[in-house]
Amino acid sequence: MIRVIVKRLLVGVLVMWGAASLIFLIVRVAPGDPATILLGPDADPAQIAELTTRLGLDQPKLTQYVHFLADVARFDFGESYRLGRPAMSEVLTRLPATAELMLTSTAIAVVFGVTLGLLAGARPGRMVDRVVSASTIALQSFPTFWVGIMLILVFALWLGVLPSADAGTPAHLVLPAVTLALPFTATVARLTRTSVAETMREPYIQTARSKGLTEPQVLLGHALRNSLIPVVTIVGLHMGGLMGGAVIVENVFAWPGLGSLIVDAVAGRDYEVVQAATFLIAGIVMLFNLVADLLYSRLDPRIKLDTVS
C-alpha cells in the first residue's frame, strides 16, 4: 500500500514536471513581456532592457527553462514582479477563499445530488426519475456565469436579500457557492442515478431481495454503499472541473480566490504567479485523484490499490 502510494507520488512528480513545463512554454511563448508591463508605456528602451536583464528574460528560453526547473525543484517559484512578493505565498493566500467556495459547493452538491440520484435511480423510468433527469440536464446546461448573474439579479438586486459580490460574511458565500454547486449537483445526481440503477441490476440485489427484505432495506442496506463507490471516486476526480468552474464563479462574484488571481496574472504576464498557481492547482488535482483512488480501495474491499492503474 505504502509502496503503491509512493509510486503514485513519483508518477505524480513526473506529471507535475510536465504540467509545469507546459505552462512555462505557453506563457513564455506568448507575446508581451513583463518588463514593458512593469515599466508601463512611458519607459525608455534602456530601462526596459535593464529590467529584462534583471528578470533574466534576456537569456535563451532554454536557459530560462533550466533555471525554472531548478527553482521549482526547490519549491521556489520566484517573486511576482507585479506584487513584489513570493509568487507561491501570494497564491497560498488566495487558496483558502477558493477552498472555502469549493468545499461548500461540494457539500451542497453531494447532499442534494446523492439524494436526488438515489430517488431517481431506485426506480429508473418512473416519474421521479424523469423529473430528476430533466432538471439535471437543465442544471448542467445553464452557463455558470449567466446563472450567477441571474442569481445576482434576483436575490441581490430585486429581492435584496443577499450580497451580490465580494467575500467576508457567510451571506457572501451563498450565491457563489450555490452557483458553483448547481451544475455539480446535477453531475453528482446523474452519476448517482446511473450507479444506483446499475447496482440495482446486480445479482446480489436479487439475493438481498430473496432474503425477504423490503425495497428500502435493499436500497439502503445493499445498493447505497456499493453505488456510492464510483460516485465518491468521480466526485474526487471532478475536483479539477470544480476548480475550473470556480475560476468563472470567482470572477462573476469577485470572490478573492485563485481563479481571479490567475486571470489577472495571465493578462499581466505575471509568469511567476501563473506558474505557481497552475503548479499548485495541478498538485491539488493530483492529490484529489490519489485520495479518490485510496478512498475507492477503502470502500471496495475487492480493490487492491496496485490494480488501480
Partner: protein, 324 residues
C-alpha cells in the same frame, strides 16, 4: 396445509420491444416435500423465469397468470407483506454465479446473518448460528472465515456461503438456479453432493434449474423438461432419461456426450432452440422434430399422462421408442 408447491398453468409475460412476450406459457408441475425436482431446458426455455416467478423476483413490468399454490395460498395473489415473509424464510434461492450474487462490500457473516439479525436475534446468537450454517454448508473452520469478503473465497466456497445464506431463513423449499454452472468439474461434483446431503438431511424440497442433463440426473428425483416456455415432459428422473416420452427429451439425452465412450453423435437435432419471442405455432418443437407431421404444425399438444407420474406434451409420444 401441505408443504407442496404447485404450479398451475403459470404464465409470465415480459415486456419486449415488439409487445409482451410470453416467456413462461402455462407451466404446471409440483414440488412435493423432501423431493428434488430438476427443471431442465436450453436457453430461452423459460426455466429461470419460472424459478424467478416462484421466488417472486421477476423483472420490472413482468405480469403473471395461473397460480402458485404454497401452503394454502396462491403466491401470485397474496399481499406484498406475505410474499416477503415467504421469501427467504419459506422459499429460498441459490443463484448461478455466487461471486455476483454476493454483495462484494459486505462480509460473509454479515450477509449470511442478515435475515437472522432482521429477525431480532442478538449478536452472539447470530454469530453462533452463522458459524453453524457455514459449517453445515461445508466451509472448513467457519469461525475464522466470518469476516472474509466474498472475493477472498474460492468459487466453491462462495457457493457454499450462498447455500448457507439460503439456509439461514430455515426454508422449506430451496430453489437452485444453475448452482454449479460457473464452477469447475471437480468443485461441481462436491457442491452437488452437498446439495443432495442437505436436501436429504433437512428434508427440504428443492427445485434444481439447469441446462445440464447430467447435473439433474445426478441430483433430482423428478425432472421437468421445458422447451420454449412450455413443459415438454415431466416424470421421475430415471424414467424420463431412460424412456423419454418426448422427442425433444430424447434428442437432449442423445446430445450429451459420454465421457468413457465415444457416442456417434450420428443424428444431432437440427436447428436452434425456439425462443418465446418467435415460438412456432402448434407444437413449438415441430420444426426440429423427426416425428413431426401436419397435426404438430397446427395443434399445440396438451400435457398428458403416459404412465403414472409421467407426463408428456407430444401427440405421438408412443412412437418415440420405435422411431428415434
Amino acid at each position: 396445509m401441505s408443504d407442496m408447491l404447485e404450479l398451475v398453468g403459470l404464465v409470465v409475460d415480459l415486456p419486449g420491444p415488439g409487445g409482451a412476450v410470453r416467456v413462461v406459457d402455462g407451466v404446471s408441475f409440483d414440488i412435493p416435500p423432501a423431493t428434488t425436482v430438476g427443471l431442465i431446458g436450453e436457453s430461452g426455455s423459460g426455466k429461470t423465469m419460472t424459478a424467478n416467478a416462484i421466488i417472486g423476483l421477476l423483472p420490472d413490468g413482468a405480469t403473471t397468470g395461473g397460480a402458485l399454490c404454497w401452503r394454502g395460498d396462491d403466491l401470485l395473489r397474496v399481499d406484498r407483506r406475505r410474499r416477503r415473509r415467504v421469501r427467504g424464510r419459506e422459499i429460498a434461492m441459490i443463484f448461478q454465479d455466487p461471486l455476483a450474487a454476493l454483495n462484494p462490500t459486505q462480509t460473509i457473516a454479515r450477509q449470511v446473518g442478515e435475515i437472522l439479525r432482521r429477525d431480532g436475534l442478538d449478536r452472539d446468537e447470530v454469530r453462533r448460528r452463522v458459524v453453524d450454517l457455514l459449517d453445515r454448508a461445508g466451509i472448513p473452520e467457519p469461525a475464522r472465515r466470518l469476516n472474509n469478503y466474498p472475493h477472498e473465497f474460492s468459487g466453491g466456497m462462495r457457493q457454499r456461503a450462498m447455500i448457507a445464506l439460503a439456509l439461514a431463513g430455515n426454508p422449506a423449499l430451496l430453489l437452485a438456479d444453475e448452482p454449479t454452472t460457473a464452477l469447475d468439474v471437480t468443485v461441481q461434483a462436491r457442491i452437488l453432493r452437498l446439495l443432495r446431503t442437505i436436501q436429504e438431511s433437512e428434508g427440504l424440497a428443492m427445485l434444481l434449474v439447469s441446462h445440464d442433463l447430467r447435473v439433474v440426473a445426478h441430483v433430482a428425483h423428478q425432472v421437468v423438461v421445458m422447451y420454449a416456455g412450455r413443459v415438454a415432459e415431466r416424470g421421475p428422473t430415471a424414467t424420463v432419461l431412460r424412456r423419454p416420452a418426448h422427442p425433444y427429451t430424447r434428442a437432449l439425452v442423445d446430445s450429451v456426450p459420454a465421457i468413457r465412450t465415444r457416442t456417434a453423435l450420428a443424428h444431432p437435432l437440427p436447428g436452434t432452440p425456439a425462443t418465446p419471442a418467435n415460438r412456432p405455432a402448434g407444437c413449438a418443437f415441430h420444426p426440429r422434430c423427426p416425428l413431426a407431421r401436419e397435426r404438430c404444425r397446427t395443434e399445440q399438444p396438451a400435457v398428458r399422462s403416459v404412465a403414472p407420474d409421467h407426463w408428456t406434451a407430444c401427440h405421438f409420444a408412443e412412437e418415440i421408442a420405435d422411431r428415434v
